[in-house]
């Protein structure tokens, strides 16, 4: 029997059958205890109906939004989904880190019922985080109504080759789009801002206006020092790496004034108090996770919501109430100690974590930090571990109470900290034993901060969650 053609009414028979097969695969992997099944269901369903990528864009009645960039994809997607819910919509999102093509299909599998139908389709908004190198391969199949671009930093060069090729891929992708997606762009990142030059639709800029949170010294991991015209960019203020208030004296390109901006930012140990400007409105906002990068992620989500027409007060309320995304500053209570997990993937992200840890001065003045640093070298972590030398870890030295290094490359991590002036109290590759040692060194009622690369984060989060009596990640509410 031939497939019925895909119509605006919903999925084709073949697509439905594929989604049902994906559900079976997912349930089977979970029963076998093989983890959350974030990839396999998408692989199975995608094999049976290759046009499910198109469906991920076409099925949600409210269209789709993509979120990409080196850092902040998961958190921004998470926040935008919270905003969508607050606005009365039903977000359809892919799960944490599952941001390759098969992850998009898994998102559909997760939403489909036993007959391959997607309920409340008319109120569905697809919100997809997409890997920065993968986006050009799925963009014209998803045909998103809006595309959020967060930043572009050096990351996993063993996988992507060179950073420039990612930026070129984005520009070519937008030049080839035969519809006019709204671009939601970080005004502060010159690599992202250049994308506006090829825009055929609306551009909504977001950025940080408050110069008080600028860096005082230059960070070493800065990736866009030069303008497209070839001249050196200058920065009036730098927020992280090459991100800031930039301009080019030679050609006159400069940062655009953002429509969605943080006009005042006060960083503290647990989060930030932000005065935000959204269009013509001024609002106060508590960003509940620490670090300036958390503020930028919130601004990106607010800007996307603004582009979609969500009222500002609704969006602000949702962001303030949102918990952390999976493994991104998630907190757990283990016995009488707190454990906070930070995902570190690249120098820019790790620098921001260092900054957030230092900003956290605590109630008794400058408190020492108890750290478990975990470095793995799998494909998802980056097989090349050299990036740890690009992060300015030296700045932590005066504040470390105790440090344990762990992961497949625990020895590399330990050497990096040692060269930065911090001698680990223990170097233990294995996760559980390292966690024991680190908790042991953390004072009662203190906080252990765990900094981990992607696969190490998955491992340690599982171990911490078990001790805290919290469920596995695929049981978490989405």
């Amino acid at each position: 029997m031939p497939d019925s053609p895909q119509t605006s009414r919903g999925a084709s028979l073949r697509q439905r059958a594929a989604l049902v097969a994906g559900r079976v695969a997912r349930d089977a992997t979970r029963r076998l205890g093989r983890g959350g099944g974030t990839a396999l269901p998408g692989l199975v369903a995608g094999r049976l109906a290759p046009d499910l990528i198109e469906a991920a864009g076409a099925l949600p009645g409210l269209g789709a939004v993509t979120v990409t960039g080196t850092n902040g994809k998961t958190t921004t997607t998470h926040l935008l989904a919270a905003i969508a819910r607050e606005a009365g919509w039903e977000p359809l999102t892919n799960r944490s880190g599952s941001n390759l093509a098969r992850g998009l299909v898994t998102a559909l599998v997760d939403t489909a019922d036993g007959t391959g139908d997607i309920d409340r389709r008319a109120e569905r908004l697809g919100i997809y985080e997409v890997d920065e190198a993968v986006l050009p391969t799925v963009f014209d199949r998803l045909r998103p109504r809006a595309a959020v671009f967060l930043n572009l930093f050096r990351d996993q060069l063993d996988r992507y080759g060179e950073i420039d090729s990612v930026a070129e891929g984005w520009a070519e992708m937008l030049a080839g789009a035969d519809w006019a997606p709204t671009l939601v762009l970080n005004a502060d990142d010159p690599s992202v801002a250049l994308l506006a030059e090829g825009a055929t639709g609306r551009v909504v800029w977001f950025g940080v206006d408050d110069p008080e949170v600028a860096l005082t010294g230059i960070e070493h991991a800065s990736d866009a020092r030069f303008c497209r015209c070839g001249a050196r960019l200058s920065h009036e203020h730098q927020f992280m790496g090459h991100v800031g208030h930039w301009s080019c004296a030679a050609c006159g390109r400069r940062r655009s004034t953002p429509e969605v901006a943080a006009t005042r930012v006060r960083l503290d140990a647990e989060g930030s108090d932000v005065e935000a400007r959204i269009g013509d409105a001024s609002l106060s906002l508590r960003v509940p996770t620490a670090g300036l990068y958390s503020v930028t992620n919130a601004l990106a989500a607010l800007a996307a919501a603004h582009a979609l027409g969500v009222p500002s007060d609704v969006a602000i309320r949702a962001v303030a109430a949102a918990g952390p995304a999976f493994g991104r500053q998630e907190r757990f209570t283990v016995g009488r100690r707190q454990v906070r997990i930070w995902l570190a993937k690249n120098p820019a992200g790790l620098n921001e974590i260092v900054r957030a840890l230092l900003a956290a001065s605590g109630t008794h003045g400058v408190e020492p930090r108890y750290l478990l640093a975990m470095l793995n070298d799998g494909i998802q972590d980056g097989q090349d571990v050299s990036w740890i030398y690009d992060a300015d870890l030296e700045r932590l030295a005066p504040r470390v109470g105790a440090l344990v290094c762990s992961g497949d490359r625990a020895d590399d991590m330990a050497l990096r900290f040692s060269i930065g002036g911090m001698t680990p109290v223990a170097v233990i590759a294995e996760t559980e034993a390292a966690l024991d040692a680190a908790l042991d060194r953390t004072p009662t009622s203190g906080t252990l901060d765990v900094i981990a690369t992607y696969t190490a984060m998955i491992d340690v989060r599982e171990a911490v969650a078990r001790r805290a009596g919290v469920g596995s990640y695929w049981e978490e509410a989405r």
């Binding site: 050096r154 060069l157 063993d158 080759g161 060179e162 950073i163 420039d164 070493h220 800065s222 020092r225 030069f226 070839g230 050196r232 120098p347 070298d377 097989q383 090349d384 571990v385 050299s386 990036w387 740890i388 030398y389 690009d390 490359r409 020895d411 590399d412 330990a414 050497l415 990096r416 040692s418 060269i419 930065g420 170097v427």
Partner: protein, 267 residues
């Protein structure tokens, strides 16, 4: 033929010796954590009681005078094009330094531009500084980048086994007067074909190994320090062994990873 120093020259490092380390284009050519090499030098020199005066010189800056150790890291094609002309202009000075025994470590893109020329992906030929008798061509269509863990054995006996990570498109070929820095055990090396890795000329080394290469290859770091101190004092120091368990452990772990993950080189 390289001049290989022997331990029969004057031993020990005079108290209070300080070396001048120049990082070239460190704000442009730094894509693979090349800064780690300078951090490691400062760390180990301090342990050995050697002072380090670190100087950075980038686009538009004059070359600093009288360095004992010169560092240059890797960059993308765009960055290489940006510095190539100016670096080429520094060629005579850099070659004179190399001839007088200044220690050098040129990694990846910096190694390519320390050669005679580099033909990039757009077909443009960038004239290099000519410190090394090597030439490099960017990969043709369909040719893969050389990416992965790499383990080599140096032609300099004191250095021995060196481990790192390589990530380069360019294929480098040694000229008639060039000596390879090392032979590939696991990984690709200069061009994936002839089993050579890098180049050594007197006290100057060009290599594709980053990772960063110096922190976990203390024997290579010590050799560069030795050459830098000799350049400064005129006498070859003999370093006592150091307590460096973390360095040795990281080295062994990386060697194990390279053996497990990278193809054994077979010519």
């Amino acid at each position: 033929m390289n001049e290989t120093p022997t331990a029969t020259e004057t031993p020990s490092t005079p108290l209070g010796t300080s070396i001048r380390v120049v990082s070239l284009y460190d704000d442009v050519m730094n894509v693979y954590a090349d800064r780690g090499n300078l951090l490691a030098i400062q760390h180990r020199a301090a342990k050995r009681g050697i002072g380090v005066e670190a100087i950075a010189a980038s686009l538009g800056d004059a070359l600093p005078e009288a360095p004992d150790l010169v560092l240059i890291g890797g960059g993308q094609d765009r960055e290489q094009r940006r510095i190539a002309e100016e670096l080429g202009g520094h060629g005579p000075a850099l070659r004179a330094w190399a001839d007088e025994g200044v220690a050098m470590l040129a990694v990846c893109g910096g190694f390519q531009l320390f050669g005679r020329w580099y033909r990039d992906t757009s077909g443009q030929v960038l004239t290099g500084a000519g410190v090394f008798d090597v030439t490099t061509v960017a990969p043709g269509p369909g040719q893969e980048r050389c990416i992965g863990d790499i383990l080599v054995t140096s032609t300099v006996p004191e250095i021995g086994e060196v481990v790192g990570f390589e990530n380069h498109g360019g294929r480098t070929y040694l000229g008639p007067s060039a000596t390879p820095f090392a032979h590939v055990e696991y990984g690709r090396g200069n061009n994936g074909a002839d089993g050579t890795e890098g180049v050594v000329y007197r006290s100057a080394i060009g290599t594709y190994l980053h990772g960063s290469v110096l922190p976990k290859n203390p024997q290579l770091l010590d050799w560069l320090l030795t050459m830098a101190v000799r350049h400064r004092t005129g006498a070859l120091p003999v370093f006592p062994p150091l307590e460096d368990e973390l360095e040795q452990r990281a080295h062994r772990a990386a060697v194990e990873v390279a053996r497990r993950r990278s193809p054994r080189f077979a010519s």
